[in-house]
């Protein structure tokens, strides 16, 4: 039997705060992380709000700052030493389309070019962690960091490494992203009330809210973690991923890709649907995602208690899978399910047992979903240590 993979460190920066505990307490209170855009003058833009992290910076420097804060917190908690048996896997996109540089009068430096590469955060994490093992970068849009965690689990199970530092980072509150995604019709336009803009599974949802953040975890072979006396936060029990093979912009109405990802994660964990006590849904607050995911949840897991924390954090895109995986781990640790901010009138088209406010419950196994533009789906299951 393959040895278990355990979580020994977590770190995050989200629009709700810097660090795991401030963010988690804000989640349990149902706080709002969404407000007017401050990164640039958004006057006259079709969308003038975002879920910005409380960290200064812009572009590649902001992503690097978010990464550093989250990775150092996870490593401090874990106490993981670096070395050849430690790898890195990061979910990330390129910082912004490099063609914006066509407007620059000066030539970008080599360092600037390198900093915008999708694998720049991976190199940064490896340097911080002293990780000399395999390192890779996963770029599947909103599924990126969920798949990065899955890849990390698989590398540990195969015996290639003893530990992986894995997670994701993204920062999308910038002009071209706001214009681009608003022209796609994917963003909420609730400019008059940003704090109520992200409303997963609500009848009156009108799109997602672009966000910024980073989430990183230290995953480790259980025997190695125990041998060095590390505190085990949770067991990474299962991972499943699938393709929709449907359309670039839409999710299949029956949620078949989401269903497959969750089913495969259950198989991987050796669990049945009845074993799952809480789901942190992808729940983006778009019409299509929430309806499609609901169909998959209802079909596979029935009335399992479910919430989406994106009502508080907005959509952290490449980072959301890792950040929400941390929320499911904290839910296990504390025996409490986060609520669903802005869920005022549940959509009848979303037949899900929604948790409205943070609720105490004995949790054995929790599941988190991440689904991306283009149809890649990832599901992760965590259990108590």
């Amino acid at each position: 039997m393959t040895e278990r993979v355990v979580v020994t460190g977590i770190g995050m920066v989200t629009p709700l705060g810097v660090g795991v505990e401030p963010t988690w307490q804000a989640v349990l209170r149902g706080d709002n992380g969404i407000g007017p855009i401050t990164r640039f003058d958004a006057t006259g833009f079709p969308v003038r709000f975002a879920a910005e992290a409380p960290v200064a910076g812009e572009g590649a420097a902001l992503k690097a700052a978010l990464t550093e804060l989250a990775v150092r917190e996870a490593l401090d908690m874990s106490g993981l030493p670096g070395g050849e048996r430690v790898g890195v896997c990061v979910g990330s996109e390129a910082c912004r389309p490099p063609w914006t540089w066509l407007w620059r009068k000066d030539m970008p430096t080599a360092a600037e070019v390198e900093a915008l590469a999708p694998d720049a955060p991976t190199r940064q994490v490896a340097a911080i962690a002293g990780a000399l093992g395999p390192r890779s970068t996963v770029s599947t849009a909103c599924t990126s960091s969920s798949q990065a965690l899955g890849e990390a689990m698989q590398r540990i199970r195969r015996g290639e490494v003893d530990a992986m530092v894995c997670g994701g980072v993204d920062a999308l509150s910038e002009p071209l992203m706001v214009v681009g995604f608003s022209k796609l019709g994917a963003l909420s336009t609730r400019n008059d009330d940003p704090s109520r803009a992200s409303r997963p599974f609500d009848l009156h949802r009108d799109g997602f809210v672009l966000g910024e953040g980073a989430g990183f975890l230290v995953l480790e072979r259980e025997s190695c973690a125990r041998a060095r006396g590390a505190t085990v936060l949770a067991v990474a029990e299962g991972y499943g991923c699938s393709c929709n093979a449907w359309r670039i912009t839409d999710s299949p109405p029956d949620g078949r890709g989401a269903y497959d990802a969750m089913r495969l994660a259950l198989e991987d964990a050796g669990l049945s649907p009845a074993d799952i006590d809480y789901v942190n849904a992808h729940g983006t607050s778009t019409q299509q995602n929430d309806a499609s995911e609901s169909m998959a949840l209802a079909r596979l897991l029935g009335p399992v208690p479910t919430s989406s924390t994106k009502g508080m954090t907005g959509h952290l895109v490449a980072a959301c899978g890792a950040v929400e995986a941390i929320f499911t781990i904290l839910a296990l640790r504390d025996g409490v399910m986060p609520g669903s901010r802005n869920l005022e009138e549940p959509d009848p088209a979303c037949p899900v047992n929604l948790v409205r406010e943070a609720t105490r419950a004995p949790l054995r196994h929790t599941l988190t979903n991440a689904f991306g533009f283009g149809g890649s789906n990832g599901s992760l299951i965590f259990g108590r240590p």
Binding site: W99, T100, S139, R158, G374, S376
Partner: protein, 240 residues
Amino acid sequence: MILGLGFELPIGLSEPVALRHLPDPRAGVVAGPDLGPWLKRRKDARLLPRAAELALPAAGVAMRGFTGNPEELGIFVAVGREPPDEGDAEASLVAMGRGGELDLKALRGEGRALYPPLLPLRTLPNMILAHVAIQHGIRGENAVFAGGAEAGHHAWEAACAALAEGRCDAALVGAALSAVDLASARDRLRLGRAGAPGEGAIFVLLGAPMPLPPHAEGEWAARVGDVGPVGAFLGLIPPG
């Protein structure tokens, strides 16, 4: 076992005639490709970034002999940085500029109107995987690895692991990159990379785990240019 191999490179598309060009010191741009045979819906062509245009024929040829259930097929793809799609965005870029600077006021007005609505989707790195998966109905385990040549190796490793561990019966693995645009040329200059930039795609259909392909990037660079993660697969193409 390798069940299928397809490539779209400056030497041509996976046909014997293409192999005869191997000794030629060619580099640069792929002619075409003709997407007609590789698109279920013609209108999907407007959604394709250049690297996906190269990937579709290459993946299509690799899949020719596949008779299994594509819903059980895995797909693992390596990509470079986000494609710039300058041509698409040209009108918008012109409108965004004032006095040689990116001007937010212009972006709010005319620039926004001219901004191609599908551009965000065309520039996401996972669009290559998405288009190939949609065209062939592939619904199994998947991942997109980004970076340089090492991304190709990661895709290969992930495909082999998925096969060895029984998570899929067959896996389509490959890479695609187009780096012959102005921004890429400028980046290469700044990074001090020698040789010609290139573009291309290679896909391999695997039916069982295989060792990594022989390393042949340097040997190939003069023939097809620097094709980033695609280079990890060039050693698979039979010589002469």
